[in-house]
Structure formats: C-alpha cells, structure tokens
C-alpha cells in the first residue's frame, strides 16, 4: 500500500487524542492539534496513554476516518488489537508497521510511503 506520511512530533493516544467522528487530533497538549489523521500513514515513535485507543481505532475504521496505517519504532499492542478487531468486524486492515528509530527519523512529513 502507498500513503502520505503524517509525522507526529509527539506520540498520540487515540483515546482522548483523536475524534473518531472527524478523524482529527483533539489532544489539547498535542502540538499538532486539529490536524486530520484520516487516510494518512501516521508516523510516531510509539503509541501512548489510554488502553481505550483500540476502540477509537475500530470506530474510526467504521466511520471511515481512520489512518491508512501506522509506522512506529516499537510494537504497539493496543493499536494492533484495534486493527485486528476492525479487520474482523469491517474487513478493513490498518497495518501497524515497525521500523527502526533511524528509519523512522528519516521519514519526512507529507512524503509518499510504500509499505509492504
């Protein structure tokens, strides 16, 4: 798949951080507040915070506002499970790809990424 990178300057918890109805960042503490995640390859070091983020991801998939994929520097169980449930319920996969911190750091915001 190919998607346009959205490089987050800080990790984002989808719960409390993303509005599944609009697909936008709502975390008041996040430097990219109000940016839309929909259809983007979201690049961040790691997931963060609440264990409810899996639900927000599945709901975003249902609502058609989900990111196309995630690229992280470490595995994230919460996002993986949200993705697996969305796949079972709605037949849509949101890949969660792990890259080395060095590779992650080279990704430029807005760049078209090819993920396998």
């Amino acid at each position: 798949m190919i998607g346009r990178a959205l490089v987050l300057r800080e990790p984002l918890s989808l719960w409390g951080g993303m509005d599944a109805a609009s697909g936008r960042i709502i975390d008041a503490h996040h430097p990219q507040r109000s940016v839309s995640l929909t259809g983007r390859v979201v690049v961040m070091r790691s997931g963060r915070g609440s264990s409810s983020s899996a639900s927000v991801l599945a709901e975003a998939v249902r609502a058609g506002t989900a990111p196309a994929a995630f690229v992280l520097a470490e595995p994230d169980l919460i996002l993986e499970i949200g993705s697996a449930v969305a796949d079972e319920l709605y037949g849509v996969r949101v890949p969660v790809v792990v890259r080395s911190p060095e590779e992650l750091a080279r990704i430029v915001d807005g760049e078209e990424l090819a993920l396998d």
């Binding site: 503490h29 963060r48 915070g49 609440s50 409810s52 927000v56 599945a58 609502a63």
Partner: protein
C-alpha cells in the same frame, strides 16, 4: 518463533467452545505474536475496560462475541461505562447516547462480568490479586496500580483484548507477566531542593506522576527519595497521572511498593541510569495542569480515579459541615458508595451539596452542568484529559484546595508546600 499452544488452546481456536470464544482466542493469539510470547499462561481474573462506549464499533464487537456464545471463564470486574446506572438523572447529554452507553454496559454484564463499573477495582474486596498473581487488566490507571502497588502481574490489555483474555482465561507469557520485564531500567531521584513537606504532601503525587509519565514513557522506572510507606491513595494518583502523560504500566516507589522494598530490589540486583527530578520541573508540571486564569470557578470535580472510602471520609472531614457554593461532583465506585452509605458518609456529603457519581466519570460523560467555566480538580489524570474530552478549562490543586474552593465559590490555593507561595 510461533506461539506454542496446548490442546485446549487449539480446541478453543478451532471453535470447540463456539465462534465467540474462537474470535477471542484469535485476538489473544495476535497479542502473543505482537508481544513475541512463546506460550500462553493461565490467569486468575480480569478487569475489562471495553464496556465504555466509543461508538457503534463497541456494540458491534460485543454483539459478535455474544452471538458466538462467549462467556468469561475467570472472575471479571468491569471498568466505568458511559452512564451512571444508579443515578441516570445526572446525565446531561443526548438521551440516545446514554441509551447506547447503557446497552454496552449491560452487554458486558451479560457475558458474565461482575457489574462493578469502576476504574479502581483494586478498591473492591475480592478483586485485589495478590503479589505475583497473573491477571489481565484493562484501564491504564488500574494496570499501573495492579503491577506497581499490588505486585500482581498484568500487561496493558486495551479494549477488546481485555475481554478476550477473560473469555479464554489465558494471556501471552510476555512483558510484565515475566519477572525480567518488571526490573526498573531508570532511576528517577528527587533532587535535594524538593522540600521535605512537599515529599510528603498528597498534592505532589499527581504532579510527580505527570513528570514520571513524560520521563519514563513506557519503561519501568524506580522513584527514589520519597518517605517510605506511601499510602495507596497517593500511589493511585501517581499511577493514574503517569499512565496519562506516558504509557507507564509499572513504577517502583522505593520503600513503598512491594517489589521495591529497597531501590536495590527494584533493580533486581542490576543497575540503571539515574535522572534527577527538580523542584522547578515539578512546579512547571503543576502549572501546566492549570489552563484557566484567575480565581473564577464554575465547578469542582474530585474522584478520578474513583474515590476510595478513605478519600470520601477525607472530603467529608475537610467540609466539616460547610456547604459548597459551586457545583461539586465526587466520582466513586458503586460498591464504595454502598459502604459510604452504611457509614453515614454519603449523607454528610450530600447534605453539603455534593453530587456523587458512580459507574462513570465526569470527564468522559456529559455530567457537569457548568463546563463552560473553570473546573477545579485534584487529579492529574482529570486535568490532563478533560480539556480534550469535554472542553473544560482546568484549575489543578490539592484535595484540600478543591474543597476550600468549592466552599468559597472561587479558586483558593495553598501553594506553600511547593515553596513558592
């Protein structure tokens, strides 16, 4: 390396206990792969966070489990839902949304879960797993408390996975279920400039938690420099804040938590880098929790995570027969409230004008009447999430500050423990 399954695991995966259980088993298997586990292990209990409504997907998921005949196979408590089932009149939002929230809460009860609806299951008799016990807990503050304060072992079981583990009674043998992963890999030492009075003040703990979450991220840190024997309520505030600003699932507090009788024990005999937390950093973190200016006050919200009996008693004692002048909401668990009722504490609080909320929380549901003006809280977690979730402006203060402010009808804060009053 593939996950080694035993005969029962394979049978569940093949659908021997129905499609719902097989679905749950697929999720547990996915988790095992992500975590790199080589096998699954039994659990003695679970705490499920999936009963909070996050949209139609929440209902679609539990409907799939129920249609497939799934039931929990271990004693399972439920986290907060969207509505207070005992005080439905406190809901001040769309009635259709309340109905969906209620439907979800009841759907989880129908899977065999205990209808506790609290984010602090560790305050319930009968759901405090013992040191070393293996469990599967959801809800970030409960996870951190379980590992850190009870010394029971859980990974971070997010929504969907928590109930999946409760259904199959198994978890991946990985992460914080293993002794190695519980070793502190970072020492956070309180700097000498932090006054002794602050080191032993309730108000330090949510703020220290915010700093801990930022510094530790998802790693296990050991905090050094606090007086020994810190109370569960203080450690609860620390864990909740750390799991908000970071992904902290376990922290050692030297001299206070069971796997950190000493700093050496927290390190399991190893070594770790030392970082210092200064008074300036704590003050800055405290200030960042406040987004409102001036002394205007619209409401006060206490009890995040859900207040313990000791905290309800303390609020009643701080009120000392006085009435609150602004809306003041205290969240607790329905089981704790039942005890508070027997002991007359509920009556004292209600007579003071306080509203008591159970089964949910005031930063995830439309409960507060006055959300347009500043809301004061003693919770690092509430202060962290409420601006994004319910659009609240926040004033952070100690529990005593919050009660004094509720009575005065304006923000009153005693910053003397911080040395900058």
């Amino acid at each position: 390396m593939p996950v080694a399954l035993d005969d029962r695991d394979r049978a569940l995966l093949a659908g021997s206990s129905g499609d719902g259980t097989a679905f749950a088993m697929r999720l547990v298997m996915r988790a095992a792969e992500v975590l790199g586990a080589q096998r699954l292990i039994d659990i003695s209990g679970a705490h499920v966070d999936s009963c909070l409504y996050h949209g139609q997907a929440s209902l679609d998921f539990v409907a799939r489990l129920a249609a497939g005949g799934a039931r929990v196979s271990v004693p399972t408590t439920l986290n907060v839902g969207a509505v207070d089932l005992l005080h439905p009149e406190l809901w001040r939002g769309d009635p259709a949304a309340a109905a969906r929230g209620r439907e979800l809460m009841e759907a989880y009860r129908a899977l065999g879960c205990r209808p506790t609806y609290t984010c602090a299951p560790y305050q319930l008799a009968g759901s405090r797993p013992k040191l070393g016990e293996q469990v599967a807990w959801g809800e970030s503050n409960a996870i951190a408390f379980c590992n850190s304060v009870l010394g029971a072992r859980t990974e971070r079981y997010g929504d969907f996975l928590d109930i999946a583990c409760a259904i199959v009674g198994r978890v991946p043998d990985a992460g914080l279920h293993t002794t190695d992963a519980r070793r502190a890999t970072l020492i956070l030492r309180l700097a000498p400039d932090i006054p002794a009075a602050l080191r032993d003040a309730d108000v330090l703990f949510p703020v220290l938690g915010i700093v801990l979450g930022r510094r530790a991220g998802s790693s296990v840190a050991a905090i050094d420099g606090l007086p020994p024997g810190q109370s569960e309520d203080r450690l609860k505030a620390l864990c909740a804040a750390a799991a908000s600003s970071g992904s902290v699932a376990m922290v050692h507090v030297a001299g206070s938590t069971p796997e950190a009788a000493t700093l050496h024990a927290a390190l399991q005999g190893g070594d770790a880098p030392v970082e210092t937390i200064t008074l300036a950093e704590l003050r800055a973190a405290r200030d960042e929790l406040t987004s409102a200016l001036g002394d205007e006050l619209a409401a006060v919200s206490l009890g995040t995570p859900h207040a313990s009996l000791a905290q309800l008693e303390r609020i009643a004692a701080l009120l000392d027969g006085r009435r609150v002048a602004v809306e003041c909401l205290v969240s607790t668990g329905r089981d704790v409230l039942a005890i508070a009722r027997e002991r007359g504490i509920e009556t004292q609080l209600r007579e003071a004008g306080i509203e008591l909320l159970v089964d949910t929380c005031s930063y995830i549901a439309p409960i507060l009447r006055n959300r347009s003006g500043p809301v004061m809280t003693d919770s690092g977690k509430w202060a962290y999430y409420a601006p994004g979730n319910i659009g609240a402006q926040v004033v952070f203060g100690s529990t005593a500050d919050c009660v004094a402010s509720a009575v005065a009808g304006r923000v009153v804060r005693d910053d003397s423990p911080w040395g900058d009053a």
